[in-house]
Subunit: 418 residues, 2 copies
């Protein structure tokens, strides 16, 4: 069979399974998730052995230690996969939920009912835990899922996929509801992205180059974010200690993730009070500061920021710092250099808090809280399959609801249109 034919068969089988998944009982979906969890527990050693083949391959290929670390199925990774599935099984089933009901003057009762999207295709890099996390969320929301992990995690993903298929079958659900693409060739991705007839949504997860590749080649809608250039703005009259705590948390707690702060904007009126104290703490935590001229005047010896720094997603212990004359300048800076991801204001002023929430055009906008809260779990969505920074369909963290849409259901007693 050619690669084209093979991919098309996977996609068609996913579509057929999606029909069954769309209307199956919640209990069967939860049973599947719990079966996967217990098999992961029971087959740990098998999984580690398969993962070992991938690690060997990765070392032979000369992958970086950071990548090998993400590839490894460690005890803690397996445990979080198992607990994740068990947790998603406890979440309410979004499918069939009536989100609104109203009546028309002619007596028609109109409702909007949540339904699955259909077939979702995940394209991701080396982390094999995405295979389990994504399958859990897609199945719980009544979708079929096609999983295309990185070629480095080939053996791990094959083993995980077998466990998922067995669990679906044992719970009486179609095993094609979750399929892994069993080909290393990257051409498989290009072919997947053409299957608009069978696949409803592509979700890429990984570095910016993977995501740009997917967007440029896909005929199917893509939910994605390229990067997170997140800002904290310390307003005139802000509580200085709170501003320091939030800045520290947003930059230092986990610098390598998309919701970490990359640029700190400080109102001129608090700059001399705030910046020296903040700088000491940040520098003690190993953060390199890159400041505008006004920052340098307050923090002598600080490295000079260049234009590119305002656009940079460092994902590292580096922070760009700019002193602004007003909140309007701060908002304009975010609009020009930001990524519509996450922005926070630290303020004591009611009117400016309100105006910031309205005017800042980002998926999550916060007052007096760390940017690190842009996360489905932290915001109470239960779980997260990714974050969208484009506005169509979903904007911000995506949980189970964002893997569904609504249809109109209309109950009448013979109404016709006049």
């Amino acid at each position: 069979m050619t690669l084209d034919a093979q991919i098309m068969e996977i996609a068609k089988n996913a579509r057929a399974a999606a029909f069954q998944m769309a209307t199956c009982d919640t209990s069967k979906k939860n049973e599947t998730l719990l079966k996967i969890a217990s098999k992961l527990e029971r087959e740990k050693e098998i999984l580690k052995a398969e993962n070992g083949k991938d690690l060997l391959y990765a070392r032979e290929k000369g992958l970086s230690e950071a990548m090998i670390d993400r590839l490894a199925l460690k005890e803690a990774t397996l445990l979080s996969m198992i607990e994740g599935l068990q947790y998603v099984a406890t979440l309410p089933d979004p499918v069939g939920e009536i989100t609104r009901t109203w009546s028309r003057p002619n007596g028609l009762q109109v409702s909007r009912m949540r339904i699955p999207l259909g077939v979702i295709c995940m394209i991701y890099e080396s982390r094999p835990n995405v295979t389990i996390d994504a399958a859990g969320l897609c199945l719980k929301s009544g979708n079929s899922v096609i999983l295309r992990g990185g070629s480095e995690s080939f053996h791990s993903n094959q083993a995980l996929s077998r466990i998922i298929s067995e669990s679906l079958l044992e719970a009486g659900l179609p095993p094609h509801a979750a399929q892994i693409v069993p080909v290393r060739d990257r051409e498989a991705v290009t072919i997947l992205l053409q299957q608009e007839e069978w696949i409803d949504l592509i979700i890429p997860r990984g570095g910016e180059s993977l995501i740009r590749f997917v967007v440029n080649h896909s005929k199917i809608p893509v939910l994605k974010h390229y990067k997170g250039v997140c800002h904290v703005y310390v307003d005139e009259g802000a509580d200085i200690q709170m501003a320091i705590d939030i800045s520290m948390n947003a930059k230092v707690q986990r610098p390598g993730v998309c919701n970490a702060m990359e640029t700190l904007l400080v109102h001129r009126a608090v700059a001399t009070q705030f910046l020296p104290r903040a700088a000491i703490q940040l520098q003690n935590a190993g953060v390199e500061l890159r400041g505008c001229e006004k920052t340098a005047a307050i923090l002598p010896g600080v490295k000079q920021a260049v234009e590119q720094d305002w656009r940079e997603e460092y994902l590292d212990l580096i922070l760009a710092v700019k002193v602004v004359e007003s909140m309007d300048e701060a908002i304009a800076h975010m609009a020009k250099y930001g990524s519509n991801h996450t922005e926070s204001i630290v303020t004591s002023d009611y009117e400016r808090a309100r105006r910031f929430l309205r005017q800042v055009d980002s998926s999550v906008v916060l007052v007096n809280a760390s940017t690190r809260f842009n996360d489905g779990g932290q915001l109470g969505l239960g779980a997260e399959i990714g974050i969208s920074t484009s506005k169509l369909h979903a904007f911000g963290p995506m949980g189970l609801d964002e893997l569904t849409t609504t249809k109109f259901v209309v109950m009448g007693d013979g109404q016709v249109r006049s």
Copy 2:
């Protein structure tokens, strides 16, 4: 200026205007709509003169009478444009609406706030009323809009566009919030579809070939439906009179629209009772029937349906008729040949009504009501900018809410992540 540069300037100006529109007061948006309405009233004669140039051009080009009819700015068309704007001005402003609020254990208050999508581009055919209807809905929902009408309505659209820009300016809003593309060249459409940096959404309205062209060339998300192959299924034990009334309404009341019935499915148990009575009424109304073999056995002399009939969107007084053995067969038929647009069941059975609503995968699913109700106005959305039969972002009729998305707004008092 090259065509590329001209289109790019329109798109960039739209984006700049979108920033202002996103946070402007409701009263200014309503004022704009009412100003457009009163100018349409005041400048009727000018508009008719400009429209006259288009009609002359259309006749010279040898366009069909049906197309010329749709192009004409008649008194009734103008009146409905004016009333449409006045009505949309009375609708609640979706922007800023908090659709949900909840609290987290750490005290964060999380809300979802409606915001505009940004820049919407409408690509449509000859009807100049779309220029006004679409501008009204896009502006009310806080978006910028780029309007690209058919080349036949060039002069009409230029005149309407001038009225819209003047009204925006007088209300203190950016005139670039609604721009018409002042070029006849179809190449302009192709260039528009590449402006992913400045345009957020494309909505094509017109025939299937226009829509396919847009989908195949767009780098920007497209909300569309290709066609409506809508079904009525008359169940075992249905109220025969109700089934006849609904079938007649769905087929005959306005056969040329996307929510008209194209295929009638009849349960075998009611076929001999229902079909002869229904056939008389339908045929008296001028409907040509094309039946399956079982239909032909009940209605001797009826024309034989071929495979292609089940897929056909006639948009005319023609109806395909099929006798089925069960509701499952009816649902399977809809899944195979339908277009996920609108399907209705006529039934007296509680369990089957409920199952039909759950299992049928269409944007609007009805019990005991005509398919003609798939319409934003009829279903109570206030107004409609189109119908989507794909599931991403919106499924079914799209009103003001569907021209928005939500962002997360989070209010804290110093929370950081541990």
